[in-house]
Symmetry: C2
Subunit: 164 residues, 2 copies
Amino acid sequence: MEDGLHEGASLRVVVQRIRRARLMLSEEKDGWAEVDRGLVYLVCFVRTTAGTPPLDLRRAAKSLLMAKIDTNAEGRPASVLDMGGDVLVVPQASLSGKLKGNTPQYHAQVAKEKGLDLYTAFITILNEEAVAAGKVITIKAGVYGNRQALSTESDGPYTHMFEF
Amino acid sequence: MEDGLHEGASLRVVVQRIRRARLMLSEEKDGWAEVDRGLVYLVCFVRTTAGTPPLDLRRAAKSLLMAKIDTNAEGRPASVLDMGGDVLVVPQASLSGKLKGNTPQYHAQVAKEKGLDLYTAFITILNEEAVAAGKVITIKAGVYGNRQALSTESDGPYTHMFEF
């Protein structure tokens, strides 16, 4: 792991519960990542102020996978690890936006190379944690820095915001 | 306007830029609100601490309609008021969620009746502001408190978070 990778960054995530979703990976025919029932994580790495503890990507990954934001067949709170299902992780730079007058500024985003490294590490850790939990979770990733065409179908109150 | 309606609440919004979206309003056939190019506002009214200024719904509505989170044909930042288009306003109680251990708690949401009154007032004000700006903006609302089945198609980095 690159020295200092986890310093000076936090992870902002909007989680949406979905029935299915598809994300364009390339503009070629069939260049899509498709997932069925599960979650979409819209993720952005933002700069933190001096003195903020380093980003704990493993804690963030565990917390997101274990968050009981779904309901099981008995109507009780359940996580994606409890239920199984797919997770689609979409880079979403715009989540760093802050309005200055009417124009959003994106200065809060970490530098592109650092963001790519953190995104790649996050995907790896999500996969490790799903395997460690012994669960059939398919983690699919987007392409960091690309245009993100995304279609989602959801059901129920389903949008959650987290920051780690 | 009900006395105290704007006290003790803030508005949390996740904005998604979309090519089209559809929201289920009732489970009957064709009970859907459909919009084309524009924005989805996922909205939640959350309790504030004592001493927080009252929620200024009109300022929030203006700010959201004027936020330059789209790009025009010349590639310059543009708002939904600049571009025209549709706005679909979806009640999203889950945005008030805060993890306690692995279980989200939704205590931060305002009481249901107050939330419904604020939601209704917000839709009215969005319409008034679109008319006042002399723009062709179609504001479509969901059903407060209902199950929200929603399909969206989007393109580009597009998810923004705001709090008013």
